[in-house]
């Protein structure tokens, strides 16, 4: 039904987006919590930095990663020298790009959810002997669960749809294209096989729809459990 190129695009999209969500999860939750609960100097700047990938053209995000993680970049050089890891022009860089573009949505969701949690509950937990990390793990996190799931799904959907940044950072060769990249490649192709294009478009719609459905199911199950 699907051509090998389409299969590999679907597979790569799924792997990259899932990886991007996992990559964005720890910093996303941490940043969301920091922005919701802590006051610290430079908070405004952190906030802007988090927002950046959402407001600048994705190509610029990709270029930023290229500069930072390139062979001679601030982060790229030590990574290469110490660990022998090279990120750009590779699936790792594409995953990072997808994570960066999804992060703002995750942070925003988590932050809003944490702000909705009564801080007085957290104080009460402290008087019951909960250390700060335990307050977060046992009280805050279970209460922000719906917001977190929503944020993760948005992040996933954004990662699946990411085009510009992954295009800049990744290899645009057969077997190294995500769904959007493959779609674009087919549009550009001189022989323009219309049927394949339609299949890919439907596939990406299906993927986003599935993500939203999973999110809905998780939230509904939670509600039924009386939480």
């Amino acid at each position: 039904m699907l051509s090998p190129a389409e299969w590999s695009a679907l597979k790569l999209s799924l792997i990259l987006s899932t990886g991007a969500v996992l990559l964005a999860l720890p910093p996303g939750v941490l940043l969301g919590w920091l922005l919701a609960r802590r006051r610290f100097p430079g908070k405004v700047w952190v906030e802007m930095l988090v927002w950046l990938p959402l407001v600048v053209p994705p190509v610029v995000t990709g270029y930023g990663i290229l500069v930072l993680f390139g062979r001679h970049g601030w982060l790229g050089r030590p990574l290469l020298e110490w660990f022998g890891v090279h990120i750009v022009f590779d699936w790792k860089g594409m995953m990072l790009a997808a994570a960066a573009s999804g992060l703002p949505l995750l942070v925003r969701s988590v932050r809003t959810a944490i702000e909705g949690v009564d801080a007085r509950l957290e104080l009460a937990a402290a008087t019951l002997g909960f250390a700060p990390w335990r307050v977060f793990w046992n009280v805050t996190l279970p209460l922000v669960w719906p917001g977190l799931v929503a944020g993760l799904v948005l992040c996933f959907a954004r990662a699946v749809g990411e085009f510009g940044a992954t295009r800049v950072v990744g290899l645009n060769t057969d077997g190294n294209r995500t769904l959007p990249l493959e779609i674009y490649a087919q549009i550009e192709a001189p022989d323009g096989s219309g049927g394949g294009l339609l299949r890919l478009v439907l596939l990406s719609l299906l993927l986003s729809g599935a993500a939203l459905w999973v999110c809905e199911m998780l939230l509904r199950r939670r509600k039924e459990h009386g939480g």
């Binding site: 104080l123 402290a126 008087t127 019951l128 002997g129 250390a131 009280v139 279970p142």
Partner: protein, 354 residues
Amino acid sequence: MIDARFILERGAFRLEVELKSNAPVVAIAGPSGAGKTSVLNAISGLLRPASGEIRLDGVVYDRPETGIHLPPHRRRIGYVFQDNRLFPHLSVEENLLAGWRRLRPAERRVGFQEVVELSGLGPLLGRFPATLSGGEQRRVGIGRALLTSPRLLILDEPLAGLDRQLRDSLLAYLMKLPQCLDVQMLYVSHTLGDLLALARDAAVIRDGRLRLLAAPEQLLDAGANGVTETVEAGLAGTVAGPAADPGFLCVVVGGDRITVRGPACPAGTPVRLLVPAHHVMLALPPLPALSVRNRLPARVAALHGDGGQVIASLDVAGQRLFADITSDAVRELALRPGVPVIACFKAQAVRLSM
């Protein structure tokens, strides 16, 4: 034993606190907005004092001058909040056990079954906080704090916002705690009735200072002009057996027997009697024949108030009883501290709590 001397500052607000007591129940009174809750927050570690020192059982919890501040989760101070603050995502049982689980087994002085029985929460263990009534939520809040085996139990207006019947049953529950569980309680309220029924020591906030009073009854002086609420005494007694009439019980208070309305219960059961001051009359011996069943020999300890209303604080075999009388009566009976009197109240006027 609480021993605190500290200063709280926040903007223009400044409160000087001096509180040292080993009484099982220490009351803190003061008008709304005087900073009662801030004092509690400082003692529990949620708020940092500007200077001074907070000690509990000899251990320094706060001393800003030397940078000592024990974080709240390591203080082992149970805190019952005015707004309960139960965890909405946990069942009653999980809420109760939240703090208990944080203790090492050796630190668990208060047992789960004990608290469940004492607070009557057995049937509610599987429920979630949102489905509980106000009184039930308060009981879970108290039980949850108790199960941390606290070194100090802080209660912030635990009876506020509850109806009369709930207040009585919760007050009775609270009165049992210090002896049952051996924990010092810091009790904040602006209701004189609770404070006088419970506390052996009282502090009051006035003009930006919190000071311990020589005796809890001095709270009556503090608000004497306009003690409009019911002042109540809590007497400890032991059931002696059923009285002559069905539905009534004989209870021994000090060395004397009195009769109260109450359900049959075995002799030897310890009980608390709540006696409202306006139901108590004073007589000088010898007494004529009276229908009033209860006549306790007492001694006037102090007279509070000066206008029309006087609250006489009485010493009944070492316990406190209050009588709400007129100043005219005070003059006619020539009452003053030290005068022996007989305190009389009807069996029906007493509320009994187990």
